[in-house]
Symmetry: C2
Subunit: 217 residues, 2 copies
Amino acid sequence: MSKFNDSENKIVMPANTMLNPVPAIMVSCSHKDFNEGRPNIITIAWAGTICSDPPMLSISIRKSRLSHEIVSASGEFVVNLVSRNLLKACDFCGVRSGRDYDKFQECHLTSIPADSLSSAPAIAESPVSISCKVAGVYELGAHDLFMARIESVTVNAELMDEKGRLCLENAELVAYSHGHYYELGDVLGFFGYSVASPKALKRRLDEMNRNHKKKSG
Amino acid sequence: MSKFNDSENKIVMPANTMLNPVPAIMVSCSHKDFNEGRPNIITIAWAGTICSDPPMLSISIRKSRLSHEIVSASGEFVVNLVSRNLLKACDFCGVRSGRDYDKFQECHLTSIPADSLSSAPAIAESPVSISCKVAGVYELGAHDLFMARIESVTVNAELMDEKGRLCLENAELVAYSHGHYYELGDVLGFFGYSVASPKALKRRLDEMNRNHKKKSG
């Protein structure tokens, strides 16, 4: 591998939440005892996959949030991935409270039943909705960590190719980094590319960038 | 807000780890009882911020991994963010074991003392290194969840502007999505942009894209 010029100039900053980039996701939830059963959406960046088998993810929610109460009561939520055309709604759901706004109505979004769940709805306009059941809650400080089992995943049919493979690169997903939202740009590699043969490497990278650009224009 | 065409065609898939995009990070660690004290690096995508105050993050590690043993014994690790020029090393550290390779040597990386920690080193070539102390471990299945307090953050001086603000958009960070690594592309917005005035919105988006392209172009 090539050598690096290591930077000698380092600056130490106080502890802060500097892990980047992170996902920007829209979490939908509902419970009959809150807001007359109307579903709510909360935008969350403090989220991550935490286990492959069983498939699990976590979201962290401030105690003060309406969605904290709803998810605590229902034990269910849906993680809706955010495509470029959903971003404005995603941002709005992160800065406004479900106590003041019906976010589905305000953002012209459609609440649909989520697979495997009884109360939390999915957002129809999201390309990928992940149905989750809470497996444990951990109080950490400003946020509580909700660990959840992934029950099933619902995707837009148009993201499947003719061989039945999910082409998530066509979903135009958004990443969040240090206060900014970004589109995903060029494909730089695939898992394992550093040990692939040069020939296999070139073929796969060319193929991926072709697929990625076909959709994004 | 504009209306969406909601897709009627949805396909339900079995549960899988479908949260995307996620970070791709290089976790460095060391303990005198393992590999004669030589530091190790493990690449992790199952990571996330879990609390703002205190600042905390989590990483999930398979029980079989050498780094699982090292981090369990030392109670420390460093999360090194991955810039474009580190990506090949990042991928390599995800597919090879520290039991077979000295990854710092193999990838021509430099191990330097990490701020606030006694055993885990940082990777000098990473633009941002986050010093972490384990606060709790949670067994989930294939992976164990390591919850950690962020102790301090060390950044390359060249990422600071003349006003002392961190310009992380110049770090060329990489995102991971469904098996592929991506560069961060165009800036699409900033936190709160959906409720900003049209004038403020245009000014800030222009400014951000100028800054972002200055470096990457």
